[in-house]
């Protein structure tokens, strides 16, 4: 029975508290008059919306680059893909997958340069990733103003140039995944089959990759770079590949988010997307140097569940909106917890 004890220890008390808290919220929901079916539907939807952004963190954690605080680079690549897709007026699945395809070359370029940079600054990846992400988002702010987009739905009406801060995907590929094979039960519950299917496929593909020769090498580099090197693996190359993958998954993640949310958010919008993703994977049980698909799924579900349920339930109880404060404390608290834990790798 030692397994239960150690697995609780491994899981960590903050995660258990969050888990219990969420269960309490679900139990309280009907009591305070919040519809459970609508809540679950909401949680599922938000789960699908965010899951791939969380998944994007896996490759870099596995390769030893740590938490990708520079995920904003991937998000920007996704924004480029989706705005171009809209510019070309691609609609439906063509528009959605076109956006992903168009974001691929940007992801590769950004990821390659970012990866090369991180290889030069080993040990400081997280702090540097954060500021590289922040400053890159600022450059892109200027770019959104000056790039020659012309679709009238995207540019400021009065100036005729410069992209709007939010662009609706309505009429292009709004809810393209959410509505695909969606199952509606009753008035309040919708099961977003297409969305969850897409998330599942992405997770499966990453899982497959992690089992390939390259994926195996990547994990070994993260686990013990010296071992990997002694086995003839080029550690820097593996790290760069992981950064490119992470960046591309970030791009896919934001496009999936946009189709569900209904808006492409530009300018400084990528910045606040990063921390929740990191918090989610950590809540799911990942550490700074190990992460799995299970961590992604559990973490996204717990974190988004928390974010969905706290406003509705807590607000009903206290008659005040504490969700923002709870979100800040929980998400930053869990990151802090992960950073201050002694590295588990025994050497």
């Amino acid at each position: 029975m030692r397994d239960i004890k150690t697995s609780i220890q491994d899981f960590g008390w903050p995660r258990i508290i969050i888990f219990i808290f969420l269960i309490v919220l679900f139990i309280l929901a009907p009591i305070v008059g919040v519809r459970l079916d609508a809540s679950i539907s909401d949680v599922l939807n938000r789960f699908g919306q965010y899951a791939i952004l969380v998944l994007a963190l896996v490759p870099m954690i596995q390769s030893g680059c740590g938490l990708n605080f520079g995920l904003a680079l991937g998000i920007v690549a996704g924004l480029l893909g989706s705005t171009l897709s809209l510019q070309f007026e691609w609609r439906g699945f063509m528009g959605f997958f076109g956006a992903i395809a168009l974001s691929l070359p940007f992801s590769i370029i950004f990821g390659y340069i970012y990866g090369k940079l991180l290889n030069k600054v080993k040990g400081e990846e997280m702090t540097i990733g954060m500021y590289v992400g922040l400053s890159f988002v600022m450059i892109m702010c200027i770019m959104w103003l000056v790039l020659p987009y012309s679709n009238p739905q995207m540019v400021w009406g009065f100036a005729g140039k410069g992209l709007r801060t939010t662009i609706s995907t309505e009429g292009y590929w709004f809810k393209i995944l959410n509505n695909f094979l969606a199952v509606k039960i009753g008035q309040f519950f919708v099961f977003p089959t297409g969305l969850l299917l897409f998330v599942a496929i992405c997770c499966y593909l990453v899982w497959l990759f992690m089992r390939s020769r390259t994926g195996t090498a990547m994990t070994a580099v993260g686990s013990n770079p010296d071992f990997a090197r002694a086995s003839g693996v080029n550690a820097d190359k593996m790290r760069t590949i992981s950064v490119i993958m992470s960046t591309f998954l970030g791009a896919v993640g934001i496009i999936v988010y946009e189709q569900s949310f209904g808006f492409i958010q530009l300018y400084t919008a990528p910045n606040p997307m990063v921390f929740p993703a990191i918090a989610a994977i950590l809540i799911g049980g990942a550490s700074v140097n190990k992460a799995s698909m299970v961590n992604v799924v559990i973490g996204t579900f717990l974190f988004q569940g928390l974010l969905t349920m706290t406003p509705s339930v807590i607000n009903s109880i206290l008659q005040t909106d504490m969700s923002e404060v709870i979100r800040m404390i929980v998400s930053n608290g869990i990151i802090l917890y992960a950073l201050t834990r002694k590295a588990k790798v025994t050497k």
Binding site: S212, T216, F227, V233
Partner: protein, 545 residues
């Protein structure tokens, strides 16, 4: 020496780490103004003895020790190194313990700075006193003068040559008011010859002023030159405690490496006729920190077990690490007539060489992964084995079944104690971890296998098993093995020939049957070039191409 009793007296010191005895009834006296040379091979117990003397917490954490330490006839109990310092012991460790951005002066008086009280003392305590820099400098200069060397008190440590750093450390120890005993652990290892001479002179000067000195060194020539008394440790026992007068380097060397107390090692191999050269190395240099190789050449015959020995820090570990591409290296290496490109681990592995690293936990294992991963990983990456095609060969996936099969095979073959193939490597004992490392190398089906320190840090029973496994593997598959070890007896029990490395070069190659003293002399670096060739005996170095 006016005083009658000894300054420091160690009596019946014994210490074991979880049943593994490392020191047994060791005792010696140190008098005022005396220099005591403490010599012994790696693992002879010198470091442990000094840790005990200094009250290092590691000793108490591992169950303490037995025996007594007396200072001026009074029994001492040091709870921490600071107690030992207060009692008048000074220690210069192997690693520099200096602040790089501080000057000589600041380092000499580190945490013992002269201070002038300030108004904030009452509120916030002594640490708010300001430093009295002129006074600090005076003290530093005094210590430097006492040492009798030239040191700029205002120079930054980061800009100093290595020798000056060493002097700064010694100056720091003697600048304490009450330092009566100075212990130096391998103080000349990083110094040039001339710097070492200056150091020896200043130590003699200190001794004349009444300081008792314990001088630990591998360099027997220096020990013979400077010491008044010589204590030789071997396998945790002080085998000799003699006045230095009349003792030759050869004497010390043979005492040092003489037969292990635990008795004769197994029967020696009869010399085998192995003719065909399979592997050769010429003018190899390797930049491995602390184990740099300068210019090494040797050749190994097919099916041979070739041993490489030598003292720590002389470069024996650098040889396999350099050849396998783990550290920057140069020179030429041929395997079966083909030149191997250096600085490229993948090329070395692909060519049919395999390496069991001395750094088992650092390089040898993926501690947080399963045994399957550990054994199969290199074969997956280099040979593309244990992969299965998916989607009609579009890409490949790890073949868990094949990996499990491989792992099971070796668990059985090497008798690895584990709960299953999915167990994490970090959960195994040292001996079983070593077997995993061997299995990883065997799984590559190498032509030439390098094993570095295969028995380091594992218990006695496991040691024999590992050695037997290597021998069996050599005999059954004809695999050529190059084994690097600090334990001479181990090399002599299994190898066909043994090369001894000294200062990054081959000091000589001997047959396992050669006299222990001969090995000792080669190891101790007592030879100089002209006589070196003469001492090389019958087994002789293979002719160089």
């Amino acid at each position: 020496m006016g005083q009658t009793g000894p300054l420091l007296s160690l009596k019946n010191i014994s210490k074991d780490f979880y049943g593994n005895v490392v020191l047994q009834n060791v005792g010696f006296d140190l008098h005022e103004g005396e220099i005591l040379g403490l010599v012994g091979e790696n693992g002879a117990g010198k470091t442990t003895l000094m840790s005990i003397l200094f009250g290092m917490p590691v000793i108490a954490e591992t169950g303490g020790f037995t025996g007594t330490i007396e200072l001026n006839g009074q029994e001492m109990h040091f709870a921490s190194p600071f107690d030992a310092l207060d009692a008048g012991l000074g220690m210069v460790h192997q690693e520099f313990s200096l602040i790089p951005g501080f000057t000589t002066t600041e380092n000499i008086v580190l945490n013992r700075e002269s201070m002038k009280p300030s108004i904030l003392n009452d509120a916030f305590g002594d640490r708010m006193s300001t430093l009295d820099r002129p006074e600090m400098k005076t003290r530093a200069v005094g210590a430097i003068k006492k040492l009798g060397v030239k040191l700029d008190p205002d120079m930054l440590v980061s800009e100093m040559p290595v020798g000056h750093k060493q002097f700064t450390e010694i100056a720091r120890e003697i600048s304490r008011k009450n330092t009566k005993i100075l212990i130096l652990d391998e103080p000349t290892a990083v110094l040039t010859e001339s710097e070492a001479l200056i150091l020896l002179d200043s130590l003699k000067k200190l001794a004349r002023e009444g300081v008792g000195i314990i001088f630990i060194s591998h360099r027997l020539r220096e020990v013979a030159q400077i010491a008044d008394q010589i204590v030789v440790l071997r396998d945790g026992v002080a085998v000799k405690n003699v006045p230095a007068a009349g003792v030759t380097i050869k004497d010390i060397a043979s005492w040092m490496v003489g037969r292990s107390i635990s008795g004769e090692a197994g029967p020696r191999e009869e010399s085998r006729a192995l003719e065909e050269e399979i592997f050769s190395v010429e003018h190899l240099w390797v930049d491995m920190p602390g184990e740099s190789v300068r210019d090494v050449g040797f050749s190994v015959n097919k099916g041979e077990i070739f041993g490489i020995g030598g003292l720590a820090g002389q470069g024996k570990l650098g040889i396999p690490n350099g050849i396998m591409g783990l550290y920057p290296a140069g020179g030429t290496v041929h395997l079966e007539g083909k030149e191997i490109s250096l600085n490229n681990p993948a090329a070395a592995l692909k060519a049919g060489m395999s390496f069991v690293s001395e750094d088992r936990r650092g390089v040898g294992l993926l501690l947080d992964e399963s045994l399957e991963w550990n054994i199969a990983f290199t074969a997956i990456q280099i040979h593309g084995q244990y992969l299965k095609p998916v989607l009609g060969g579009l890409f490949t996936q790890r073949d868990s079944k094949a990996m499990e099969g491989l792992c099971k095979e070796y668990i059985q073959l090497l008798d690895i104690k584990c709960t299953g193939t999915k167990q994490k490597a970090k959960e195994l004992s040292g001996g079983n971890q070593q077997k995993i490392c061997l299995a990883k190398a065997f799984a590559m089906k190498p032509n030439v296998l390098f094993v570095s320190e295969p028995t380091r840090g594992i218990d006695v029973g496991a040691k024999k098993l590992v050695i037997d496994t290597l021998k069996k593997y050599n005999r059954e598959y004809g695999t050529t093995i190059i084994m690097i070890s600090s334990e001479l007896e181990e090399l002599r029990s299994i190898c066909d020939r043994i090369a001894i490395i000294d200062e990054g070069k081959i000091a000589g190659i001997l047959p396992p049957s050669a006299d222990v003293a001969e090995f000792g002399i080669l190891m101790a670096g007592a030879t100089d070039s002209p006589s070196k060739t003469k001492r090389q005996s019958a087994a002789e170095e293979a002719p160089r191409a």
